[in-house]
Amino acid sequence: MKQQRLWLLFIVAIFGVAFAPLPLGTAVPTSRTVRLEASSFEFSPAVVAVNPGDQVTIELAATDVMHGLYLDGYDLEITAEPGQTAVLTFTADKTGTFRFRCSVTCGALHPFMIGKLKVGPNLLLWRSVALSLLAVLFFISREPLFVNREPLSVVRKPNAEYEIRNTEHGIRNTEHP
């Protein structure tokens, strides 16, 4: 019965952590313009943070060869010729952290040319960490917190046999006549 309650508690906690609505902050939406310089094989700045609801304008400037920008989650894309600037405007209506990646083959490390757009708090990350903590607590709750390091003891049994416990070479139940 106690086990069942524990299970129930953890299942409720998991659903709570995974789906409970959380505040997204109180920042007033505004217009933001971000100039992103794309060069082999990085965006600068590599991490862009905006507030939920912001009107975001990204000015993508390719400084060496042609680069592109594909924004995960929003599925938006622009490309910029070398020395030119391309502009993308959108409303940051999805919260979380989204990768943006170069969408034009620009060299050897092109598939790894990645940046991040942070829109408000990264609730997925915090929920994931909380879920991990829950998982850990679940297993730790069923485990002794500290090692049992009782000193070596010899217990005399009524029938004159001896039982050795907690030796330095492992805990054994060897009986000696």
Binding site: S39, F138, G170, I171
Partner: protein, 466 residues
């Protein structure tokens, strides 16, 4: 969960015993392998337009880490083309074993190839290297150069060709599949992670094996070769070194070999046969997943450039940090966790045994880390496959009309949630495994190891979805 023997199903057994299905799959894989080498050597140097990079490091890798290893364990080794040429030379036959010939017949039918094969004096693999340390070293070496290997078609081709030559060379000098068992860097981690697979090759009754004096599963007979991996199936307790080549299924005269569906991760809690080289493989794989996530999927351009600038001072610093993390910091902290959780702190031998045993809890964590990393990498880049299939060399061909298809990342809204599930699931799996391992010895606790796994998971979550 009870084990379910697939070889009890006649159609399945017939398909597995028959050499042709496996042979056809291996020939297809060999053709792909050769084309990948040719594309790397002769095709465009642009990785995302060259079949060698896209086919090997995106398509094959996705198949391997997202499906083959977690579901079939050594399933890839069953159809791997790399040892084929060496085996053909070693066995003097393409498909089944050669018919045993009389002296007269031999003199009539001997070809030059057969006489060459007969003249080979194959040696057993040196005793001191009968472990996976060489595979560990090989993987580390590849991982150090990964930014170049994964992006330069020529380098990929040279490495694939080197695998082929090494496999042939090993087959001409040493008995059985020495390359697969002791040298292949990929086989090393497949073996480690095959322990979690829900599939296993085992004997039905060990007493039958004990009474069978010929041990044809090991020595071979007219139906098949002796175990190419040098494993006696009667003694199999883990998947790690069973290459799932199916030869024992063919050679056992007592129908005593079973291919079973079993609970996932069944090998991890088998106390026998745990070794330090395998423990370090777990650290190497876990650490590599962390480093790859930072270098390849992180926003730090300087880190990518450093990892790519092989030979530069900056790269030397990167290599040193990489090795220190994987061979120093990760095992060192884990040793501390083991020390904190064991009742036998004063006994160094016992502590080392606990360290090795506990490291098996990192196997599910590492596999899930690789899956989480690959989900992001593969779904973002798999669409490069469609144009490359039509134009494998980047020469302007359009074989299937897909050459002009644009790059499109798939499932970009879903992948972070999938990664969360995979990583948190991996942590729970690792924690459960750590508890079972800790319970093998009384007086200890798995708590420090579980906390260690928690911090690794949080680090990976931050790198991949943070």
């Amino acid at each position: 969960m009870k084990r379910s023997d697939l070889t009890r199903i006649p159609v399945v057994k017939a398909l597995l015993v028959n050499r042709w299905p496996q042979f056809i799959l291996r020939i297809v894989a060999l053709a792909g392998f050769v084309v990948a080498i040719l594309a790397g050597l002769l095709g465009t140097p642009v990785g995302s337009r060259n079949l060698s990079i896209v086919f090997v490091w995106i398509a094959w890798w996705a198949l391997l880490i997202l499906a083959a290893v977690p579901l079939f364990g050594r399933g890839w080794c069953t159809v791997c083309p790399i040892p084929m040429a060496g085996e053909w030379l070693q066995n003097g036959a393409l498909l089944g074993p050669r018919k045993r010939e009389t002296g007269d017949q031999r003199s009539e039918t001997s070809s030059n190839l057969q006489s060459l094969v007969s003249s080979l004096r194959l040696r057993p693999w040196p005793k001191r290297f009968r472990n996976i340390w060489l595979q560990n070293g090989g993987f580390l070496l590849l991982a150090l150069f990964s930014a170049v290997v994964l992006t330069q078609p020529m380098v990929t081709a040279v490495i694939l060709a080197a695998f082929l030559f090494l496999a042939v060379g090993a087959a001409l000098i040493f008995e059985r599949r020495a390359f697969c068992r002791y040298l292949c860097p990929v086989g090393g981690f497949i073996g480690l992670y095959s322990q979690v697979a829900p599939l296993e090759v085992r004997v039905r009754d060990t007493a039958v094996c004990a009474a069978h004096t010929d041990k044809t599963c090991y020595t071979g007979n007219e139906n098949g070769y002796g175990c190419p991996w040098g494993v006696f199936p009667g003694g199999l307790i883990k998947n790690t070194y069973c290459g799932a080549c199916l030869e024992c299924l063919r050679t056992c005269p007592h129908d005593n070999i079973a291919i079973q569906i079993r609970p996932v991760g069944a090998d991890l809690t088998v106390a026998r046969g745990r070794k330090l080289d395998e423990a370090f493989k777990a650290f190497i794989m876990l650490g590599s997943a962390v480093v790859y996530s930072a270098v390849m999927l992180g926003p730090w351009g300087w880190l990518k450039t450093t990892a790519y600038s092989v030979g530069s001072l900056a790269w030397l610093g990167y290599a040193l940090a990489f090795l220190l993390l994987i061979l120093g910091a990760l095992p060192g902290l884990f040793y501390l966790a083991t020390w904190a959780g064991t009742a036998q702190r004063g006994n160094r031998r016992a502590l080392r045994q606990r360290f090795t045993a506990n490291a098996y809890a990192l196997v599910p964590l590492g596999l899930m880390a690789w899956i989480a990393f690959s989900l992001s990498f593969v779904f973002a880049n798999i669409s490069y496959l469609w144009p490359v299939m039509s134009d494998p060399f980047g020469w302007g061909w359009d074989l299937f009309g897909t050459a002009a298809l644009n790059w499109t990342p798939y499932l970009s809204r879903v992948v972070p949630a999938l990664q969360t599930l995979v990583l948190v699931g991996g942590l729970a799996w690792a924690a459960g495994t750590a508890r079972k391992i800790a319970a093998e010895k009384r007086g200890g606790t798995a708590v420090p190891v579980i906390i260690y796994c928690f911090f690794i998971t949080v680090g990976l979550l931050w790198l991949l979805i943070g």
